[in-house]
Symmetry: C2
Subunit: 227 residues, 2 copies
């Protein structure tokens, strides 16, 4: 039994989930993943003391999870805002952004100003598919985040870290909280922040067996669990 | 401000949610609605005392919510089973069924036998789009449910009830629990069971204003609220 899944196998698991074998739609999985991130945040940081959450949204699925989390955080009572410099054309991402904007969630163009006015930062830039190098504007964003003292919550993988091998340099971001999705990635063993949660409660048992995964037990109807 | 929405307006609201104006995908809304049903059930009935839940699944979106709820109930620790006599060809419904079957959730062919071995029954047959008459096999199913003493949980609308005017006869089912979705329908004023929950926490404020809706406040990250 394994409690982490390397990049290559995590990619395969994701393909399996959305194949005819499992039949999940991206829209379903992203909704559940993003919701689990928002719920985990709500268990650690109160919206009364930390209302302003800046979500840094990348161009792929990790970013999509961030957009979903932003919407749920808004409904929970937070004041989320977005930094989303590279917006893909894909219909679902455009729709997820629209859903945020319909709630009045602000879309920043100036990252440093956005960072300055936030209580918390969600790093939803790169996920388990990340391969270096980090291109602009993300290099500058991660550089600013690594120097900031704002608490960072990373979605699945701390952005800029190698998925299997962890931080690539001493300048990497050091999140205070990590929400692994489905199953932690190997880099999570280098996580030294305060709160490590697992979200994405949707792996069917037969698939967990196929991948020999040791998935922690979630309490009640919670979509996240402290690990 | 209104706290119920008639059939015609509920239908319009649903169209609006999935239009370019709001940009929600059916897969997203159904996932959130079905999850809220499962969560509400978990707040009322423990899986330790009521493990066996028979979900009666209709051919439309109310049935889709039921399939999603079944999957989440399984993950919460219940032993859900399905009665799904009219399965539409639509891809997403087939996928939702597949997701249940991949968890080993049994699909019954004999309704009465299924009912006999269940602790609770979820009525996910007809929702806010229901128009009489009730055709077979649903007439017989509702007739058996109305005579049964098993607690019934209705999704959005007690099946067989007129959405705007309530029970059509004294033989109608009398659910113990009702989980209204988005906003209760007028028939909910005739609900005399023990637990009335609201789920479907996704209506944007601008749309609530447009429809003049008085939506109750949800606690924390909960996707359902007792009303």
């Amino acid at each position: 039994m394994v409690n982490v899944l390397k990049q290559a196998l995590a990619t395969k698991l994701d393909v399996d989930l959305m194949s005819a074998k499992c039949g999940f739609a991206l829209e379903q999985l992203m909704e559940l993943a993003g919701f689990s991130v928002a719920q985990a945040i709500s268990k650690v940081y109160s919206f009364e003391t930390n209302p302003s959450i800046l979500l840094c949204v990348g161009p792929g699925n990790n970013g999509g999870d961030g957009l979903v989390a932003a919407r749920h955080l808004y409904h929970f009572g937070y004041k989320p805002t977005l930094y989303y410099p590279k917006q893909p054309d894909k219909n679902h991402y455009q729709n997820l952004l629209k859903q945020c904007q319909n709630l009045g969630i602000e879309l920043h163009s100036d990252f440093k100003k956005a960072l300055g006015s936030s209580d918390l930062v969600v790093d939803a830039l790169f996920g388990f598919g990340f391969k270096p190098p980090i291109r602009e504007p993300f290099f500058e964003v991660l550089s600013a985040l690594s120097k900031s003292n704002k608490p960072i919550i990373s979605v699945d993988v701390p952005s800029g870290w190698d998925v299997d091998n962890g931080p690539l340099s001493t300048n990497c971001i050091r999140p205070e909280m990590l929400v692994s999705l489905s199953i932690p990635k190997p880099c999570s063993s280098f996580f030294s922040g305060k709160y490590h949660y697992l979200g994405g409660r949707f792996i069917p048992e037969f698939l967990a067996k196929e991948y020999n995964l040791d998935i922690p037990k979630y309490p009640g109807s919670d979509q996240c669990v402290l690990i």
